[in-house]
Amino acid sequence: MRDLMQVLQEVWHNFPIANRLARFNVRSRWADNYLGSVWDYLEPLMYIGTYFVVFGMGLYNGNVAGVPYILWLLTGIVPWYFIQGAFNKGLTSVSSQLNLLTKTNYPMSIAPLMPLLEEIRRYFVLTIFMVMVLIAFGYHPSIYWIQILYAIPCMLICMFAIDLLNSTLTIVVPDYKTFANSLFRLIFFFSGIVINIDAKNLPVAVVSVIKMMPFYYIIQMFRDTFLYHRWFWQQPSNTLFFWLVVTLILIGGAHLHVRFRNRFTDLM
């Protein structure tokens, strides 16, 4: 708990430098390519197109869970791309910045924050694209859209917690990165991004357990906001469960981070 307070304080005080470094990283990542950061957007759009053809038209005949498949897919996959980017970069956030950060006076805890800052711009651009498609399909802004102010913090806090934990575990446990990467690819299919978990003939308990996973909850929040017009307090148990999981990950992640950060250079 005290470790968590310390980490949060450090992150709060060093936010500007984390932001500057994140922007620098984004700029330098695509510096060698002709199209530059266009790839950041081209790749998701290519996947969205493919999923739409294969699943939307092939599997679901255009409609799923009472809404056009393209809208159902977009509301899920746009936050998913943020989650995926933050997750993958988060795994190596400390180990890749270690050389640079140890030589400065900045605390190591800003490293797990940087993946979020690197990904957030693409998320906003894709969200604007998504909103335009929604409006084109006749889904006009409503009072429920305010809930995005709850959904985005959910996503950010959850990803920070996971990155804080993962970035330490990657260094401490040599096999962890491979494990987490393969697990994450599985979670993609269980998070109801392209395949509707509800409609299958799975036992109810299994579906409920799948829906309890934090990523599913986040995606569900976005869909509730834009498509189904439900408030988050209408499913109190799931909301409570999500925050309990996130809090525990935060506490555990912060403790491991503080405990091991002095030894990171020894262990690399």
């Binding site: 005290r2 006076n105 109810v204 148990s237 469960f241 262990l267």
Partner: protein, 379 residues
Amino acid sequence: MTDSDKKIKVQASFVTKRYEMAPTNADKMKAALSNKTFPSFWALRGVSFTAYEGETIAVVGTNGSGKSTLMKVMSGIIPATSGEMKVNGAVSLIAINAGLRGNMSGRENIRLKGLMMGMSNQEIDQKMDDIIAFSELGDFIDQQVKNYSSGMKSKLGFSISVHADPDILIIDEALSVGDATFNRKSLEKIREFQAQGKTIFFVSHDLQQVREMADRVLWLHFGKVRMFGPTNEVMDHYDEFVNEYKQLSQSEQAQYRNELRDAQEQFTLDDLYHETVSDVASTQQAKQLKKEIYYEQHPSKMARWEKWIIVVLACLMILVGDKIALNLGFKTIVEKPATLVTGWTPKKLHALDERHAKETKEKAALHKQQQNGKRKESE
């Protein structure tokens, strides 16, 4: 001016650094987590010294005497195993190709390091031309650093570090990697820093350079301070030692090295304490000494109340998770708490599925009815 008037910049008290000689990283981890011990090697064995503001201190010693380790501990790259290293001010470490990224151009590396040192983008823009001019890289500045020669890399690293305006400058053998003209320029820059009253540490094998530049010399000998004092005094002794050492035959040299290496492997903190405690008179001083020698930055441990909160949260999480998975209402749980466990029998799970299927069917039927009703209305 006496020592007490000057501001202390760096103070080391009984700093040690132990390396575990574990074969793999996984083994290192095991050693960190459990009490499993591997053979250890003490790169530093209780180094103590005090450096004041405006001093230039040279660190000399044979290869493997712990010079680089000490510099790394001082700049905060690696933690000390025990003892304390107090540093007042911003430290800038210049080592051969320190922290440059190969897949970026020199210009980008300047920006990145500048950001890391806390400069804003405007400040970096202002200093950019100076840094590039100082580095003598010319058009190569826009090439990727991985294509640089080692001389170019160290020139770039040196230029960036000296332009960051550090309080304490630590130069690890980076003064003698450039060519003669660049070295002269670097020395001038160092003199400039000296004139500005900055504290400088430098590691060098160039004994002539040490005599020219340093105010005091720290002589490290296999992880211990052999001598620390005014330049000429220490350097005379050091020269003497080097000459004596050179006159030994090859096998004698090897034997000498091995003996000291063994001592570095067998070293314990208790040894250090017993060695030093004989110099102090009172028991109070001995106590203080003990505290300083065994000082360790303990990894943070959770307090009991923190553990309790975690246990409570975890139990709550399992409870809520169970409730969601079995689709139980709050009322059912209060009335029949046993359902939280008995609900997991295959029979009950099957019943849950059937109930759910029925509900979905009813819902679908209701939905159809409503739609039909709407259609009729519109007709």
